[in-house]
C-alpha cells in the first residue's frame, strides 16, 4: 500500500470523519479519530522517507496521467509539513476527549471530531496536491470544516466569529479561483508544474500579474496577513480550546505553504522577485504585522485573544522570510512554520487546561497561577518565552535565520524591526509571566476540576518540544535546509 501513500494521507482522515458521522458514539468516535490520526502519521512518515530517497513522487489520481488528470506531487518540503501537521493534530486529538466533554454539549462532540478530521484531510490535501483547482477544493473543504469548528464553542459570540470568517474566507477563495481562472486562460493548464513550465515561455504581461495579485490576496486572507487578519482574533478566541489549538497550529501554516508554492514553484523566483513593488509590499506588510498586531496584543485582556493577535504578528515573521527571499530568509520562514506550529499548539493547549480546570478566560485571572497549577504555569511560561525568541527555545532559531537572511540582503531596517518586535512580544508575555509568578492568588479562584493526565501530558510534550527543537535543530533546521535547497531554490543555487 506504500505506493498509494499520497492518496491515503488525504483519504484516511476523511474516511475517519465519515465513519464518525455515521456511528455518532462519543467515546468510540474518539478511538476512530485516534486510529485515523495515527495511520495518517504512519503514511506521512513513509511519504517523507520515500521523498528523501527517490526524490519527488508523482501520483496520478484515478489513473489519469498528469497534466490532464489530477496529480499529487510529494517533495521533501510538503511531505515534511504533512508529517508535522499529522503529528501535531494527532497529539491534540489525544488531548481533545476530556477538554471537549467540558466545553461542548454532548450531542456536538461527534460532529466536532468529524469536522476536525475533515479539516485535517483538507489541509493535507492542499499540501499534497499538484493541481491548482484541486487545491481550491481542499481549501474549501478545510475552510468549511473550520467554520463549523469555530461556531461550536459555548460562547455565542463564536457564531458571529464563524460567520465573519465564512464571509471573509469565501471572498478569499473566490479571489483565488479568479486567479486560477486567469492562469488557466493564459496557459491552458491546471497542473501547477505544467503551468510553471508553460509560464517560462510567456512574456510578462498584465493578466499574468493580475493572476499573481488575485492568488496572493486570496491566500493572504486565509493566512491572515496583517490588513486581512480581522477574522482571526475572534475566531481563535471563541472556538473550543481544542479547535483553537488545532487551527492555530495547522490552518494558517498550510495556507502559507500554498503561497510559497505559488511564488517559488509556479510563478518562479525570477518573475515574482523581479517585481520590486511586490517585495516592498510583502516586506512592509510583514513588518506592520509584527508591530501592529503585537501592539494590539499588549492591550488585550482576553487570554486567547492576546495569543491570537500574537499569531498575526508571528505570521508576519513567516511572510517576512518570504519577502527577504534569500537562502537564510527562506529557511527562517520554513523553520518558523514548524516552530510556530509547535509553540502555538503548546500555548493554546495550556490555556485549554486552564479553561478545563477553572474556566479562566481573562488575563487577570492568571494571578498566582504558579502556586495553584505549577505544571500548566511552567508550560505557559516556557512556550511564551519561545514566542519572544529567547535563546534555547525554538523562537530563537527562526529569528536567527531571519536576521541572518536580512543581513545578507543588507536590510538593516528589517533587522531593527525584528529586534523591536521582540521587545513588544516581551511586553505582552511579560505581563502574563508577572501575573503568574509574582502575584498572590485572587480569592475564589480555587481549582475546580482536576486536569486529567493525558491533557497535561500532551501539553508538557509540546512544551518540551519547544525547548528540544530550540537546542537540537537537526530535525527542524536541517530538514528545512534540505527542503529549501532541493525544492524552492533548486534552480537558483
Amino acid at each position: 500500500m506504500n505506493e498509494h501513500a499520497p492518496a491515503l494521507v488525504v483519504m484516511l482522515p476523511i474516511i475517519g470523519a465519515v465513519l464518525i458521522m455515521l456511528i455518532r458514539h462519543n467515546n468510540l468516535n474518539w478511538g476512530i479519530a485516534l486510529l485515523s490520526g495515527i495511520s495518517t502519521i504512519y503514511y506521512s512518515i513513509i511519504l517523507y522517507l520515500n521523498a528523501r530517497s527517490v526524490g519527488t513522487i508523482s501520483y496520478a489520481m484515478g489513473g489519469w496521467e498528469p497534466p490532464v488528470g489530477i496529480e499529487y506531487r510529494i517533495d521533501e518540503f510538503n511531505s515534511l509539513l504533512i508529517a508535522l501537521i499529522a503529528t501535531v493534530s494527532f497529539l491534540i486529538l489525544v488531548y481533545a476527549k476530556s477538554s471537549l466533554n467540558i466545553e461542548l454539549k454532548k450531542n456536538k462532540i461527534s460532529t466536532f471530531y468529524s469536522m476536525y478530521l475533515l479539516c485535517l484531510g483538507g489541509l493535507i490535501g492542499i499540501l499534497s496536491t499538484g493541481d491548482a483547482f484541486n487545491a481550491f477544493v481542499f481549501l474549501e473543504i478545510s475552510s468549511l470544516a473550520t467554520y463549523v469548528i469555530i461556531s461550536m464553542g459555548n460562547d455565542r459570540r463564536g457564531l458571529l466569529a464563524a460567520y465573519q470568517y465564512l464571509i471573509i474566507g469565501t471572498i478569499g477563495a473566490t479571489l483565488y479561483v479568479i486567479g486560477v481562472g486567469l492562469i488557466f486562460i493564459i496557459t491552458g493548464s491546471l497542473n501547477l508544474y505544467d503551468i510553471s513550465v508553460k509560464l517560462g515561455d510567456i512574456e510578462l504581461y498584465r493578466p499574468l500579474l493580475a493572476s499573481l495579485a488575485f492568488i496572493t490576496v486570496g491566500i493572504a486572507l486565509k493566512i491572515a496577513l496583517f490588513p486581512l487578519h480581522a477574522w482571526l482574533p475572534n475566531a481563535y478566541a471563541f472556538a473550543p480550546s481544542v479547535g483553537t489549538a488545532f487551527l492555530a497550529s495547522t490552518a494558517t501554516k498550510v495556507a502559507i505553504y500554498l503561497l510559497i508554492k505559488y511564488l517559488y514553484l509556479v510563478y518562479g523566483f525570477d518573475l515574482v522577485y523581479s517585481n520590486q513593488i511586490f517585495i516592498f509590499v510583502v516586506l512592509s506588510l510583514s513588518i506592520i504585522a509584527m508591530f501592529g498586531a503585537s501592539m494590539i496584543a499588549i492591550f488585550q485582556s482576553n487570554l486567547k485573544k492576546l495569543f491570537a493577535y500574537s499569531s498575526v504578528a508571528q505570521i508576519g515573521y513567516i511572510t517576512l522570510g518570504i519577502g527577504i527571499a534569500n537562502y537564510n530568509g527562506l529557511i527562517g520562514s520554513t523553520v518558523h512554520i514548524i516552530n510556530h506550529s509547535i509553540i502555538k499548539a503548546a500555548i493554546f493547549l495550556a490555556i485549554g487546561c486552564l479553561v478545563f480546570s477553572s474556566k479562566i478566560v481573562n488575563i487577570d485571572q492568571l494571578a498566582g497561577l504558579g502556586k495553584r497549577m505549577p505544571m500548566v504555569a511552567v508550560c505557559i511560561t516556557v512556550s511564551s518565552l519561545s514566542l519572544i525568541g529567547v535563546p534555547g527555545t525554538v523562537g530563537f532559531i527562526s529569528k536567527w535565520y531571519l536576521v541572518l537572511g536580512s543581513l545578507e540582503q543588507g536590510l538593516w531596517v528589517v533587522v531593527f524591526a525584528l529586534a523591536v518586535s521582540s521587545i513588544l512580544a516581551l511586553i505582552y508575555v511579560g505581563r502574563i509571566i508577572e501575573l503568574i509568578w509574582f502575584h498572590a492568588p485572587v480569592g475564589g479562584m480555587v481549582s475546580q476540576n482536576k486536569i486529567p493526565f493525558e491533557m497535561i501530558a500532551v501539553t508538557v510534550v509540546m512544551t518540551i518540544a519547544t525547548i528540544y527543537f530550540g537546542i537540537d535543530t537537526r530535525l527542524t533546521g536541517d530538514l528545512a535546509k534540505i527542503a529549501v535547497e532541493n525544492v524552492l531554490l533548486g534552480e537558483q543555487l
Binding site: 498509494h4 483519504m11 455515521l22 496520478a60 489520481m61 489513473g63 468529524s114
Partner: protein, 139 residues
C-alpha cells in the same frame, strides 16, 4: 389545510414524476447532461414540495430527519469506498479501470458508483438544511 385541495392533489400527481425525473437525470448522467448533483437537487426538491404542501410535521413523520442526516456521510462513504476498491486491486485511487475486467466497463461502473455517492449526499444535505430552517423554533 381545507382550502388547498387543488395544490394537494396536483402535487400528489407531480411527486412521482419529479422523483422519476431525478432518477432519469441520475442514470443518464454518464452519457448526457446531468449527474449526481442535479439529480440529488431534483429529488430533494420533490421532498421540499411535499413539505411545503403538507406541512413540516407530516413531512418529518413520512421522511424522518435522521435518515437525511445519515445520508450526508453515507454518500461520501460510497465515494471513498469506490476509490478504496481500486486501491485494493492494485490500481491508483479512484481508477475505475479496476472495477471490471474490461476498462471501459470499469469506467462505466465507476462513474455510476461515485455519482450515486454524490446523489445520496446532495439529497441528504439539501433536505437537512431545509428541515433545519423550517423547523426552527418548533422543537
Amino acid at each position: 389545510m381545507r382550502l388547498d385541495l387543488l395544490l394537494r392533489i396536483s402535487s400528489k400527481i407531480f411527486l412521482p414524476f419529479i422523483i422519476l425525473f431525478a432518477f432519469y437525470v441520475q442514470f443518464h448522467g454518464d452519457f448526457g447532461p446531468g449527474g449526481g448533483f442535479q439529480a440529488g437537487v431534483i429529488f430533494a426538491a420533490g421532498i421540499i414540495l411535499y413539505t411545503i404542501i403538507f406541512g413540516i410535521k407530516k413531512a418529518q413523520k413520512d421522511f424522518p430527519e435522521t435518515i437525511f442526516n445519515y445520508m450526508v456521510p453515507l454518500g461520501v462513504l460510497i465515494f471513498t469506498v469506490t476509490g478504496l476498491i481500486s486501491l485494493s486491486k492494485g490500481f491508483n485511487f479512484l481508477d475505475y479501470d479496476a472495477l471490471a475486467h474490461y476498462p471501459k466497463h470499469g469506467q462505466h461502473i465507476g462513474i455510476i458508483a461515485i455519482e450515486l455517492g454524490v446523489f445520496v449526499t446532495v439529497i441528504g444535505s439539501m433536505v437537512s438544511i431545509f428541515y433545519a430552517f423550517v423547523a426552527r423554533g418548533k422543537k
